[in-house]
Symmetry: C2
Subunit: 160 residues, 2 copies
C-alpha cells in the first residue's frame, strides 16, 4: 500500500470490483457445473488420485479470494496495465474451462483450455513480479492447483 498516489474511493471501488469479478466468475462456473455434477461427472472414469468432490468448493473459494486480492494489488499499483490485462485473460480462461468441461461436457477441449489457463497464470505471475511480490505469493497456490487440475483433466480424457 503506497501512500501518496492513493485515492481512497477509487481503491475501495476497485477492490469491490475485483472481488465481484472473481466470485462472479465462480458463480457463472458453478452454474455450468450444477447439472453435470449430479449425473455426468460421477459416471466418468477417473484416476485413483481424484480428490473427493466436496474438496473442490472450499478450495476454489479460497483460490478465488486470493486471486481477487492479488489482482487488486497489481491493479492499484498503477505502474503497468499489463498485469491487469493478463489477469483478466486468465480469469476469462478460468470461467471458460468450467463451461467447456462441465457445460459442453468436452474434457478434450477443456484440456486445451486448462493448458492455456496455466500459461496465462504463469504470464500473470511474471507481470505481478514487477509490481507486487504479495500478489505473486497469493497466486502460487492457484498455479499449483491448476497444475493438478490439468493433470486430472488429462487423466479423464485418457480414461474415457
Amino acid at each position: 500500500m503506497e501512500p501518496g498516489r492513493v485515492s481512497r474511493r477509487r481503491d475501495v471501488l476497485g477492490l469491490v470490483a475485483f472481488v465481484l469479478l472473481c466470485f462472479g466468475t465462480a458463480t457463472l462456473g458453478r452454474t455450468a457445473t450444477a447439472h453435470a455434477v449430479l449425473d455426468w461427472y460421477p459416471a466418468l472414469r477417473k484416476p485413483s488420485w481424484t480428490p473427493p468432490s466436496w474438496i473442490f468448493g472450499p478450495v476454489w473459494t479460497a483460490l478465488y479470494g486470493m486471486m481477487a486480492v492479488a489482482g487488486w494489488l497489481a491493479w492499484r499499483d498503477g505502474r503497468t496495465r499489463t498485469a491487469t490485462l493478463v489477469f483478466l485473460l486468465q480469469l476469462f480462461l478460468n470461467g471458460a474451462w468450467s463451461w467447456v468441461f462441465f457445460g459442453a461436457r468436452r474434457p478434450d477441449l477443456a484440456f486445451a483450455c486448462v493448458v492455456a489457463l496455466w500459461l496465462a497464470i504463469i504470464a500473470t505471475i511474471a507481470a505481478f513480479w514487477r509490481v507486487s511480490r504479495m500478489a505473486v505469493v497469493l497466486f502460487v497456490p492457484y498455479l499449483a492447483w491448476v497444475s493438478f487440475a490439468a493433470a486430472l483433466n488429462l487423466a479423464v480424457v485418457r480414461l474415457n
Copy 2:
C-alpha cells in the same frame, strides 16, 4: 487508506482473511441449502412477490463481496475493535440463518434468526459509522436485502 500506520503485509493478509471468512460462510450456507433447494423449498407455499430462485446466488455473491471489503476497511482502521466484533457476530448469524431455514427446515426459528441478524447489521453499521463511511455505504444494500429476506421468511412462516 490512511498512510502512516499502514503495515502492508498485515493489511493484505487481513483482506484475504475477510474475503475467505465471508465466502467461507457463503460456502457453508450453500452446503446447508444444497438438498433443501431441490425438493423442500420448491414445495413450500410462497408469497406472489417471491423472486425467482436464480436471483439469490448472484445477489448473495455481490453482498458477500461488499461485506468482506466493508469488514476489512473497519478492521484495518484499528481505532476500535467493536466494529470487527459486531461484524463477526452478524456474519455468524448470516451463516446460522441458512442452517436453520434450509438445514433444519425451520422457517419459524429462522425468522427469529433473521431478526437477530437484522439488528446485528444495524449495530455493525452504527459501529462502522465512526471508522469508515465507505464501509457504511457497502453495507446499505445488504441491510436492504436482509429486510426483504426477513419479510419473505415471515410470509413463508404464515403460509405454511
